[in-house]
Symmetry: C2
């Protein structure tokens, strides 16, 4: 079916998280169109998934079935259909896809499983597909992949498998503190690299001080007019520093790849550089598409 001349899309790639839905029409191995909406898994009941998807992809559909490959929270228990986790150590790409029931005959939807770890208990959905995408171009990679985001993941990767991983709620905590805590009065736009670097250094070297450094951001603003850009950078540096202190067993002496949104990855790269570490930065969308493409190819091979 791949590359057939008259189709708009050979298949459709979907990244469906808690708060977002992104779809790409894929043709000849590359995206030819993209559509996004805010109808993430967190806002949808079980009957809402198919309409939410059709709203985005209907223009790309043909008379006959189009294969849709989706990753992310869409496969959680509260999602469209539960795609059981694979237990680490495991390859981040899987051919055990879950097919939700659909009403529209033009859709053939396949949801990728996430990964789970028994002890320490941890789960991921979506990031495994980005790791798989990175590994398609770097099959012999041995090292650690960090995926900064709302829930940042650190994954130890070896011989094509995710060996172990840990999740840090750094992005979500940053957002809650910056927007809803007392710190919101002190935090504004802009950036202050010196304040960021100082905060990373302080928290990574004395992680036990995290809990008190946070209120200092407010007090510094009240007493010493430290400014909203500095406060923002200090909050980010304090939380990323705490994450690096906790993830040290992952990154110490390892080859590090960062997969994430460019701005956030740059902060992580800067924080790691302060520890003398040079991380490779990979665009998150590229990795997602590469991972979904790898899954689609496995599916095609299985079907033909």
């Amino acid at each position: 079916m791949s590359g057939s001349g008259t189709r708009y899309a050979d298949w459709i790639a979907v990244d469906w998280g808690t708060s977002h839905l992104r779809a790409w029409a894929m043709r000849d191995g590359a995206p030819t169109a993209e559509a996004t909406s805010d109808r993430g898994m967190g806002r949808l009941g079980s009957a809402d998934f198919e309409p939410a998807l059709l709203d985005l992809v209907e223009p790309w559909l043909e008379q006959d079935r189009t294969t849709v490959v989706a990753c992310g929270m869409v496969g959680s228990r509260q999602g469209w259909a539960e795609a059981p986790y694979a237990q680490v150590p495991a390859r981040p790409s899987s051919d055990r896809l879950t097919r939700p029931a659909t009403h529209d005959m033009r859709l053939s939807v396949h949801i990728l499983p996430g990964l789970k770890q028994d002890s320490p208990a941890d789960v991921m959905r979506g990031e495994e597909t980005q790791i798989a995408g990175y590994l398609t171009a770097n099959p012999d990679f041995d090292g650690v992949v960090c995926l900064p985001g709302t829930h940042t993941k650190w994954a130890q990767v070896s011989a094509g498998e995710v060996v172990s991983f840990r999740t840090f709620m750094t992005g979500e905590i940053f957002s809650l503190l910056a927007r809803q805590s007392v710190l919101r009065h002190s935090i504004g736009d802009g950036w202050d690299d010196a304040a960021f670097a100082e905060a990373v250094d302080q928290t990574i070297s004395r992680p036990e001080t995290l809990a008190t450094r946070l209120f200092s951001i407010r007090a510094e603003a009240l007493l010493h007019d430290s400014g909203p850009a500095s406060a923002r950078a200090r909050l980010s540096g304090t939380l990323i520093g705490a994450e690096l202190a906790g993830s040290r067993p992952y990154w110490l002496g390892q080859r590090i790849v960062l997969i994430g949104e460019a701005g956030l990855s740059a902060h992580y790269a800067r924080a790691l550089s302060l520890q003398g570490l040079d991380a490779q930065v990979i665009d998150a969308t590229d990795a997602t598409l590469a991972g979904l493409t790898a899954a689609w190819r496995m599916l095609e091979e299985a079907l033909t």
Copy 2:
């Protein structure tokens, strides 16, 4: 004026925080009536303070002036009138009161100052009055006072002065994570003391793991059905453990007094007992009233 036979209230005590307003009619050294509202400083513009107060205390007023003594965020820059901070080391009670302009001739309002610390930058408003209240009955106290709450304070007290203090955003972070983060799906009512104790122990001994232990609460619930009461206790224990790790220079080898709401103080007392420390627990309202009474007495002495 004290103890005059026909007055309903000799004076009025007010605890006015960010999210609450509490007033007591005081007569012969004890409260004879109490009134509360949710019109905290955070919800009021500058013109709203006097009406909010009158709504509560009007039934207690006489023809002539009644003295009102207030502590808390009502004295902040965004409050009714800014009561400048005293710089530590300082006595927690002060006779430098701020008088906001009032329209009702029956009110004579006095706002207590907070405390500030230049480095590390820190501020408090309200807790100093509770410390002052404790010191009226324990003037020779030498040790550390912990005031658990939205923003928990640890204060080193010696020779009647607050020598230094630090603020931990533990209560606010607990509330944000329990109600608004991904952890809200796993946290419910109830308590699990064993889970609390284990979490305190883990975070206090390895504070760098705080950032990853939080998401584990979610993953444990997903993978191992750990239950909503256990999740609540683990979140509390993880955050209080992190606070104890950061406040260790305060409590190590010290006499400790806890001033706070009974349920929360009990969690702190339990966490400290796990470190082999026996804390004295003081009711927050009693301490507030004692501190406001001490301030009122100083005011009376200055006026007569």
